[in-house]
């Protein structure tokens, strides 16, 4: 703890230098205080804790790298509760506070870098109002270009004006944030413009894993189909990413303008609405390269689904069965939820394996149901055998495998959807 003041000073000054406002700096500092104190108190062997600060332009990231054999991460669960009577629980309280004080946290468990906890605190940005604006005219002649920051804000503004909120990233609500996110490399944008300030459409993408690019759009503002702007945007986007290391592309927020001939339909999810209606939520996909085939791990319970889907999608896969065989597992698992409020949806994935997984999963589902979240998903990565082994626990709790997202994680991801709410909402 001798280094506590120095570490906190480093965190605070880094966050200020990277442009965080004072309220955000204080929240990040609080989170870091708790994590650093927890790690310092947990380690009695004098191991090194490395603290790194990252300027993400729209966020400041602080990463703690450490070496701890008995690190217990269960406090990072949304469902974590503590008893004020338990000393061990009180020790975890700091981590609960830390995880709630930042926008995102992640855990690192890597052979090269060891164990790590990352905390990301975002800058705050003003939301765009939906003030009236002049309608965009049809543009027969347009160029597809990378926008400057002012044009980018205009594009974000038109997008939120022309499309329902579930068809664009929530970040678009703050155009200034989009400018910073593009500067940081989080998003890439191409727009269709006449070069005189008129923005007629655009397409957005970002890398979501080492191998996958996620596309949003294409977005068109009052443009007739005969101008082929959607095709032009998709063509330019594909040429822009053609020689990157991405293996595949996915559009899960496809607008009606998406030219379907460029993509294949991976499948659809049932998306339930608060008014008891539901709609089919299509996932469009495009392989970026020739598929060389890979090996995936799968629990035997999941085999029939995988074999049928891989056959339907014509994917070459060598499926290796795996299951628990009495080996040692940690006590506590950690589940990370990702919310999509406009779609009343939460998507979970496991970031830490543990024997309490069924219990933690059940508690997450109960919390989401109590909050009125209608669409509950769980994703497992078939490149990780321990995740493949979660399939029976998921199925026992009414999660049904619905879709394969090829190469979406380290390997293929299987999306399970919770069916518990279907009777209520159909």
């Amino acid at each position: 703890m001798a280094y506590f003041p120095l570490t906190m000073s480093f965190v605070e000054e880094s966050a200020k230098a990277f442009g965080l406002g004072i309220p955000e700096v204080l929240k990040l500092r609080l989170a870091c205080e708790e994590v650093f104190a927890y790690l310092s108190e947990s380690d009695h062997n004098g191991n090194t804790i490395t603290v790194e600060a990252e300027n993400g332009v729209y966020y400041t990231g602080i990463r703690f790298l450490f070496d701890a054999r008995n690190f217990d991460p269960h406090a990072f669960n949304l469902t974590a509760k503590i008893s004020l009577d338990s000393e061990a629980d009180l020790k975890q309280m700091g981590l609960i506070i830390a995880s709630r004080s930042v926008e995102r946290f992640y855990m690192l468990h890597d052979a090269r870098e060891g164990l790590g906890i990352g905390l990301l605190k975002e800058k705050s940005y003003p939301e765009a109002g939906k003030q009236a604006t002049v309608a965009v005219k049809p543009l027969a002649n347009y160029n597809i270009v990378v926008p400057d920051s002012e044009t980018l804000k205009l594009f974000a503004f038109h997008t939120i004006l022309h499309y329902p909120s579930h068809l664009f990233p929530v970040d678009f609500m703050c155009p200034g944030k989009i400018v910073d996110m593009v500067a940081s490399g989080h998003y890439h944008v191409l727009i269709a413009s006449d070069g005189k300030g008129e923005v007629a459409g655009g397409i957005v993408w970002r890398k979501t894993s080492a191998k996958m690019i996620e596309i949003f759009g294409p977005y068109l503002f009052n443009q007739p189909p005969e101008y082929c702007m959607a095709e032009g945007l998709v063509d330019h986007f594909l040429m822009a990413v053609a020689k990157t290391d991405a293996v595949c592309l996915i559009d899960i927020f496809a607008t009606p303008e998406l030219p379907k001939g460029y993509f294949e339909l991976l499948g659809s999810l049932d998306c339930f609405l608060p008014d008891d209606n539901k709609y089919q939520w299509p996932f469009y996909y495009r392989h970026h390269k020739e598929d060389l085939g890979v090996q995936v791990w799968a629990h035997p319970d999941l085999l029939p689904f995988l074999e049928a889907e891989y056959r339907r999608l014509v994917f070459a896969r060598n499926i290796i069965p795996t299951s628990y065989a009495g080996e040692e597992r940690p006590d506590h698992s950690v589940i990370s939820p990702r919310f999509n409020r406009p779609q009343h949806l939460v998507s979970m994935h496991a970031i830490w394996d543990g024997t309490d997984f069924p219990d933690i999963l059940d508690r997450h589902v109960q919390i989401f149901k109590a909050e009125g979240i209608l669409n509950i998903l769980f994703e497992i990565d078939l490149a990780r055998p321990w995740q493949a082994n979660l399939s029976p626990a998921l199925m026992e709790q009414n999660f049904v495998p619905k879709m394969i997202l090829p190469y979406a994680g380290m390997g293929d991801i299987v999306v399970f959807q919770h069916t518990g709410g279907i009777k209520t909402h159909v």
Partner: protein
């Protein structure tokens, strides 16, 4: 065990570089895609294989010769080609396929801050080698599927060292005729090195197609690439060469890796070089099967880009990578073209009739199952 500090060791231009991952061996692919045969129509290989004399050389190769180094600079090959083209043997440099000689040229002329110019949709190795060597690759869009001479000339600046023209172009099959190539070389006026990659030149029968080697005397800044991989069917043995003005080649030789062309490749190429019957038979087969394929594609009303060379490009109404998987599951391997920046196009090599029929059947099935 040490942790290698890769972050500090790796240059930025390598970190951002995408490795090329070749396809798995046929047996592995057949197992993965569940097919019992595979027509390889993805690499523009000669369906007839090597000429008979080369095959004989390969069959009769004396195994103890494997223990000896090959001729380090392909001595007999250079001598033979010099006789054939009435040039000096020292005007030729051999490499482990034409890919290697691309690297020789770039290494010889480019230094930090320099750039090369080529097309955005052509054989990717010029761009790759420049980029992973830390040099800028300026890519000029094709015009009507062909290299844009004016666009390339406009892209030249004080740091431009080499212009690469693929003639005929892989994958579009377009070519610059003799007049256009001369005009281009005249404007360059010897200020930069111009590389004409003639990997597919033996497939072209049109009389206006230029022979780069014949232009060397007039244009000392010209370097011509040729290969034994395509027309001579020796792709598996990796042997290609460049030819140029004596002084230019003398510079390139300084970056040249010797001993990279193995003995069998040299002997097989030497046996192939004068086999005009093989060239004619290959041309006849390509002409016939290309015509058959064009007819079938016309019936399917698909957009086709078919020029010179042993390949055809086809635009599909579906994703080219989905088509690749569907073709593979039917035992036909084609090249998806997104990586060439031609989304939804495929390139199919011209093969024997049986392979072309299999391709057409797979294409029809793919289109009907969409």
């Amino acid at each position: 065990m040490f942790d290698v500090p890769l972050n500090n060791l790796v240059p930025a231009y390598i970190k951002g570089f995408e490795p090329y991952i070749p396809s798995k061996p046929d047996q592995e692919l057949m197992k993965l895609y569940g097919c019992d045969h595979l027509y390889r129509l993805n690499n523009n290989e000669n369906p007839l294989g090597p000429p008979a004399a080369s095959q004989d050389i390969i069959r009769r190769f004396w195994p103890p010769k494997s223990g000896l180094y090959p001729s380090g600079d392909s001595y007999y090959m250079r001598k033979r080609l010099a006789e054939k083209y009435s040039l000096d043997p020292d005007q030729f440099l051999f490499g482990n396929g034409a890919n290697e000689v691309i690297a020789f040229v770039i290494k010889a002329f480019c230094q930090e801050g320099d750039n090369i110019i080529t097309a955005d949709k052509t054989f990717a190795v010029y761009e790759w080698v420049a980029t992973f060597s830390g040099f800028e690759a300026r890519l000029v869009p094709l015009k009507d599927f062909g290299f844009d001479d004016n666009g390339m000339l406009e892209g030249i600046d004080a740091r431009t060292k080499i212009l690469f023209v693929c003639n005929p172009n892989n994958p579009t099959g377009t070519y610059w005729n003799a007049a256009k190539l001369r005009r281009f070389l005249d404007v360059i006026g010897g200020r930069q090195i111009v590389v004409i990659d003639e990997a597919y030149c033996e497939f072209v029968e049109n009389p206006d197609f230029p022979d780069g080697i014949k232009l060397l005397e007039e244009y000392p800044n010209l370097v011509v690439f040729r290969t034994f991989s395509k027309m001579y069917g020796l792709a598996g043995l990796r042997i290609g060469y460049l030819v140029g003005n004596m002084e230019v080649v003398d510079v390139i030789r300084r970056t040249c890796v010797v001993y990279s062309v193995n003995t069998v490749a040299q002997d097989a190429a030497l046996a192939a070089v004068d086999d005009n019957n093989h060239v004619q038979a290959t041309r006849d087969l390509i002409r016939l099967e290309k015509a058959y394929l064009r007819e079938e594609l016309e019936l399917l009303r698909l957009q086709v880009q078919s020029g010179e060379g042993c390949f055809i490009m086809i635009k599909l109404p579906v994703s080219d990578t989905l088509a690749y998987r569907k073709f593979m599951s039917q035992g036909v391997m084609i090249r998806s073209m997104t990586g060439f920046r031609f989304p939804n196009w495929i390139r199919v090599s011209i093969g024997k009739h049986e392979a072309m029929e299999a391709f057409v059947a797979a294409l029809k099935h793919t289109l009907s199952s969409d």
